[in-house]
């Protein structure tokens, strides 16, 4: 594998006695879409938080593009090229859609005029250009999720962390978002994606990592993981239910 974009070495995040993430190690190769799945509470969002600076790892190491970034502040990581979305979307509600993206654009384009231009560009890329002046609070859920992605894209990241960006969307919106994610991948951005909707993650991921109770229980190509015994057990009820729903 060429120099990995992200490398986790025995990453451990403990809250008191609870091991939210337990000695997880994996690499992400440039240009790939790495899927991170696991039952609720498996530690997926905590991994995100550890990688993006929102939780300090108790043990282990996070390396980004060869640099050790364990425990660094989120804004430092953003500057280095890590962008993320949040599971519960956090738009800047009182600002307009365009302004939301402009603030992110300041990182790479510190001057007002260039930031504005960059933001307009991003809006067109994500398909929200027609709602540029709408207050962010007035967007539908799909719009807000799209905005969330847009804010991260404006940082011109090399690694994009997507946390359940299709949860709660109807099938059409899901497909549109999938198209967007593939467009982002084609633009050269490496993606780490957490998702519960199996058909999405199985379809677009190059490889998949499965977490359960904070530990990594499987990794590999989507087909390999799907037929992995331990994975099926961890998901027992869920995989059956998801399979049914995904045939719609």
């Amino acid at each position: 594998m060429p120099e990995p974009v992200l490398r986790l070495e025995k990453l451990t995040v403990a809250f008191g006695g609870l091991m939210a993430v337990d000695s997880v190690s994996f690499d992400i190769a440039p240009g790939e879409i790495l899927g991170l799945i696991g039952p609720n509470g498996a530690g997926k969002t905590t991994v995100f938080n550890a990688v993006s600076g929102y939780n300090k790892p108790t043990h282990g190491r996070v390396s980004f593009l060869g640099h050790d970034v364990t425990g660094r502040q989120p804004y430092t990581l953003a500057a280095m090229g890590i962008g993320r979305t949040f599971q519960i979307v956090k738009p800047f509600s009182g600002l307009s859609v365009l302004e939301n993206i402009i603030v992110s654009s300041y990182l790479r384009h510190p001057r007002q005029a260039q930031a504005r231009e960059k933001a307009s560009e991003v809006l067109r890329f994500i398909g929200l250009a027609d709602r540029a002046d709408v207050p962010a609070a007035g967007l539908t859920l799909a719009g807000r999720k799209r905005l969330e992605i847009g804010k991260a894209l404006a940082l011109e990241p090399k690694l994009l962390l997507l946390d359940e960006v299709v949860a709660g969307l109807n099938p059409t919106e899901v497909d549109q978002t999938v198209q967007l994610i593939l467009k982002i991948r084609d633009a050269g951005i490496t993606i780490l994606i957490v998702e519960h909707i199996m058909r999405v993650i199985m379809k677009i991921s190059t490889r998949i990592i499965v977490l359960n109770y904070g530990r990594m229980i499987a990794h590999g190509k989507p087909e390999e993981v799907a037929s992995n015994r331990e994975v099926i057990e961890a998901y027992l009820g869920e995989s059956v239910a998801t399979a049914d729903r995904s045939t719609s």
Binding site: G83, F92, S93, Q112, V134
Partner: protein, 323 residues
């Protein structure tokens, strides 16, 4: 006709206002004029922390008092002349903001409000207790009666402050960054902002002009004491004016300050028998504005304008898509 940049308009307005002391030379009117400007300065700087950054500073007046006392002491005990003394008043206020701000800004919203309120009362106690500040009796400055002079000084200070704040908050990235912090401080970290630093900058920026204004006040009124410079009323009135005018904008507090000061003057002039009623009205005004008009006077107006503009744009886009 090419549209003039905002800062040119602002300078024009300041210049226009500046002709008033030339035209109206009545001393009493000039006093009102100067005081109105003073309140504009206090209101817009308070809004910087509350409306833009989302941090309620219930001790905003402490910068005013610190500036006033610093300038007064420098002039009385140190023999300094007015301009440097007032400037240092601003600097000291900024220093206080830096020292107090660094730990206090780590507190979340309500705690920050309480913390700043406590700090203000502590400094008030300090002024009452120390000999050097003259205790409860206050300080007397060398008298200098020249109403037009002070009118112009106050106009320069407040006008300059408005211009600087306009450039930083409405034209430059700083304003939007502060608003992002206001909306979601935790989320703003993810997009590369350093809230601790930005908040501190805003805090100091809100303090320095107020310190200078305090220094001007001291020389203008010739007498300062703890209650008038460090008491609750300084902050309380700034709060009403900013909220009534409209938070999160610069024009809002200006309008709020003018309207409220006009009301206060009328009240004082014609109802001076009922002075304590003013406090009731102040309190009710704050509560009522928050209850009925949370965006303030100007805020409601500009929100409606923005809403209509967004609607027009959206409709135009739809139309363009259809053709």
């Amino acid at each position: 006709m090419r549209r003039l940049p905002a800062w040119v308009w602002i300078l024009l307005v300041i210049a226009a206002v500046g002709t008033v002391p030339l035209l109206i030379r009545d001393a009493f009117f000039l006093r009102l004029f100067t005081e109105a400007l003073m309140w504009i300065g206090l209101a817009i700087t308070w809004d910087l922390m509350c409306g833009y950054t989302g941090y309620l500073n219930f001790g905003h007046g402490v910068f005013f008092g610190v500036g006033a006392y610093t300038a007064a002491l420098l002039m009385i005990k140190g023999g300094w002349s007015f301009a440097p003394a007032a400037a240092l008043g601003g600097l000291t206020a900024g220093l206080v903001a830096l020292v107090i701000g660094w730990p206090t800004l780590r507190l979340r919203g309500a705690y920050f409000a309480i913390g700043t309120w406590a700090m203000n009362r502590a400094v008030l106690q300090l002024a009452l207790v120390l000999d050097i500040t003259g205790g409860a009796d206050g300080l007397r400055l060398p008298p200098f009666l020249d109403p037009p002079f002070f009118a112009y000084v106050m106009l320069s200070v407040v006008g300059g402050t408005f211009l600087v704040l306009w450039l930083l908050l409405e034209q430059a990235p700083f304003g939007l960054k502060l608003k992002a912090i206001r909306e979601d401080e935790s989320g703003s970290l993810a997009i590369g902002l350093n809230p601790a630093l930005l908040k501190l900058q805003a805090f100091v920026l809100s303090a320095v002009p107020v310190g200078i204004i305090g220094g001007v006040y001291a020389y203008w009124i010739t007498f300062i004491d703890p209650l008038s410079t460090l008491g609750d009323l300084v902050t309380d009135q700034a709060v009403v004016m900013a909220i009534f005018g409209g938070l999160g904008t610069l024009i809002g507090p200006v309008i709020g300050a003018i309207i409220f000061f006009a009301f206060k003057t009328y009240f004082w002039a014609y109802l001076s028998d009922y002075q304590v009623l003013y406090i009731i009205i102040l309190g009710l005004a704050i509560a009522a504005t928050v209850f009925f008009l949370p965006d303030g006077f100007w805020g409601t107006v500009s929100r409606r304008r923005e809403g209509r503009r967004a609607l027009r744009k959206g409709l135009a886009f739809e139309k363009a898509k259809q053709t």
